[in-house]
């Protein structure tokens, strides 16, 4: 279902992610390195949760687990960025950011880039699948989760 990116969507030189020092979101970043999409789910009430937190926002349980979910979603919202605000993007041209929702995980939302033609038409509700984008030269190495349309 998931795919592996051949090259990074945005140029090198942007701020890279790192796990939080208190360990809260380490399972997510370990998961992306393993090309798995992991999110939180409450062990007591079963609600999926994103972004990560120590506490279940639905029932206030502290018994929050990490689960691997099917890496598919649908587009919830989008933007096409034209004005760069970082030197690494100065000569890059437009790029697309999507907010996707995961219907099979309580409609939690995740953010990424939409792969493909940066000037493509974007349709809210389109099905997308995750693409794992490895950055093996990062410090530490990391993997981003990108999205690409599977149907329109």
């Amino acid at each position: 279902m998931s795919a592996l990116a051949e090259a990074s969507y945005l140029p090198e030189g942007l701020t890279q992610p790192a796990p939080m020092r208190d360990g809260m979101d380490a399972p997510y970043w370990e998961g992306t390195r393993a090309h798995e999409l992991r999110v939180q789910r409450c062990a007591d009430c079963g609600t999926h949760q994103w972004g990560p937190d120590w506490v279940c926002h639905a029932c206030q349980s502290l018994n929050v687990e990490w689960v691997t979910v099917e890496p598919t979603a649908r587009i919830y919202s989008w933007q096409r960025v034209h004005h760069p605000v970082h030197p690494a993007l100065a000569d890059h041209g437009p790029y697309i950011v999507v907010l996707v929702e995961l219907p099979h995980a309580d409609n939690l939302r995740m953010l990424g880039n939409l792969l493909g033609d940066p000037m493509q038409d974007i349709v809210i509700g389109s099905d997308v699948e995750a693409v794992f984008e490895d950055h093996d030269n990062g410090n530490p190495p990391y993997t981003l989760v990108q999205w690409q349309v599977t149907s329109s």
Binding site: L10, L14, T15, Q16, P17, A18, P19, M20, R21, D25, W50, G51, P52, D53, H57, Y76, S77, W78, Q79, R80, V81, H82, H83, V85, H86, L89, P94, Y95, V97, L99, L108, R109, M110, L111, G112, N113, I124, N139, Y142, L144
Partner: protein
């Protein structure tokens, strides 16, 4: 428990009223208890063009507000600011020679969501007797300390921003564009409605010599052909970046009445955040919202007015789409009629039905993190705006739409108390 006892302990006809009022807290509310006795602003500069350091800008604004109020700066005994303002109450108290500092307060939350909350916090302190003369202030020198509109330069980031910065989402426009995309998709809001907000701001700035965009009018064609920042925002949908300082003097209504025959009362001031409004990575339960849906109800109840009573509106423009959300969520129009009601003609101070952003606002006067728009709301009640709306009794000004904690204040004349 206290509320329950009050509701069940009464009887007869008045019971429902007592319950409704005590449940909202309006019986211990701010309505008419405090006033804005003076306002002060520095020259407003394009970012990086202030020759004064940020601290000096704040001191100048506070001294100007004291002079406007007719009080000695040494009467100040409290300070409120927001968004991690760098100019601390202790340093200001030193500089102003205060004998006693009784109250200081920092409003949490990002962006300009605190611009009306500082009025709430200052008014609450005065009403509670914690202090007598509280300054609400904000200073910004983006030339000195770095621009809001630029992205992070750190090599690595942890926490919430780890989920956005690597994808090229780092400036405020990039952080909030997708809420507007969703608003347009869910409710059919037109680009022309967002354009009307921009045109009204620039129209008003042409009469306001303080405005950074004074002498630089905007027409529809220029808006339509302006470059994309990030779709759906064009250049003129986005606020400015500026240097300057602004301050408001909040004191008791009694003291304000001694200082002026026409005091500007705080009718209500309210913070507003909804269910999981601060949830990370764009996961608030309600997404395409300005964050005002809940707070606006408390606001009007506290003020004792309805949206129909509002004579003039300052609605914080970080981005035009957020203004559309804010006006709807404050009950000034609806999702269904927003495209028809929010036209340039209707938003003008000279004859419009919803006079909007009459100083030019964050788009065309100055981005003083919204405090300038609170000051403009006060001016409308005093009758000394450069785009004065006739016979203003009720003047509303909101702050920081779409951020996790937004805020709104309503100012009014003594007549507005009924």
């Amino acid at each position: 428990m206290q509320q329950t006892r009050r509701c069940t302990g009464g009887g007869g006809q008045g019971l429902a009223t007592v319950c409704a009022v005590s449940a909202s807290g309006a019986d211990r509310g701010l309505r008419g208890r405090t006033a804005v006795a003076g306002v002060g602003e520095t020259t407003y500069y394009k970012r990086g063009q202030s020759t004064d350091p940020e601290f000096v800008l704040v001191v100048k604004a506070i001294l100007a507000a004291c002079k406007d109020a007719g009080i000695n700066p040494r009467e100040i005994d409290g300070f409120c600011s927001y968004s991690n303002d760098r100019n601390t109450p202790a340093r200001l108290a030193n500089a102003l020679g205060l004998e006693e500092l009784r109250y200081s307060n920092m409003q949490w939350g990002g962006g300009g969501g605190g611009a009306a909350a500082v009025v709430q916090n200052a008014a609450s302190a005065v009403h509670a007797g914690s202090a007598n003369v509280v300054v609400a202030y904000r200073g910004l020198a983006q030339g000195q300390f770095g621009r809001f509109g630029q992205g992070g330069r750190r090599p690595a980031v942890r926490g919430e921003f780890a989920y956005t910065l690597p994808y090229g989402v780092m400036s405020p426009a990039q952080m909030y564009a997708m809420r507007t995309t969703r608003l347009m998709w869910e409710h059919g809001i037109d680009r022309s409605t967002m354009r009307a907000v921009a045109l009204a701001a620039y129209h008003h700035a042409q009469n306001n010599p303080r405005a950074v965009m004074y002498g630089r009018p905007l027409d529809a064609e220029t808006y339509d052909s302006s470059r994309w920042i990030t779709e759906p925002f064009r250049l003129y949908d986005c606020c400015l970046e500026n240097d300057g300082g602004a301050a408001m003097i909040v004191t008791s209504a009694e003291r304000a009445a001694d200082l002026s025959d026409t005091p500007v009362l705080v009718l209500a001031a309210q913070q507003s955040g909804g269910h999981r409004s601060g949830a990370w990575v764009h996961n608030p339960t309600d997404y395409a919202t300005s964050s005002f849906k809940l707070g606006a109800q408390h606001l009007y109840e506290q003020a004792g007015v309805t949206p129909d009573d509002v004579d003039v509106v300052q609605s914080y423009e970080n981005f035009t789409g957020a203004v559309v959300m804010s006006l709807i969520e404050h009950g000034l129009c609806t999702y269904e009629n927003a495209n028809e009601v929010l036209t340039f003609e209707n938003l003008r101070a000279d004859g419009g039905s919803i006079p909007l952003n009459t100083s030019g606002g964050n788009l065309a006067e100055c981005y003083m993190h919204g405090l300038g728009m609170q000051i403009e709301a006060v001016r409308q009640v005093r009758g000394d705006s450069t785009n004065q709306v006739p016979n203003v009794n009720v003047s509303l000004s909101n702050a920081g739409p779409m951020v996790e904690i937004a805020s709104t204040a309503i100012y009014g004349t003594t007549e507005a108390l009924g």
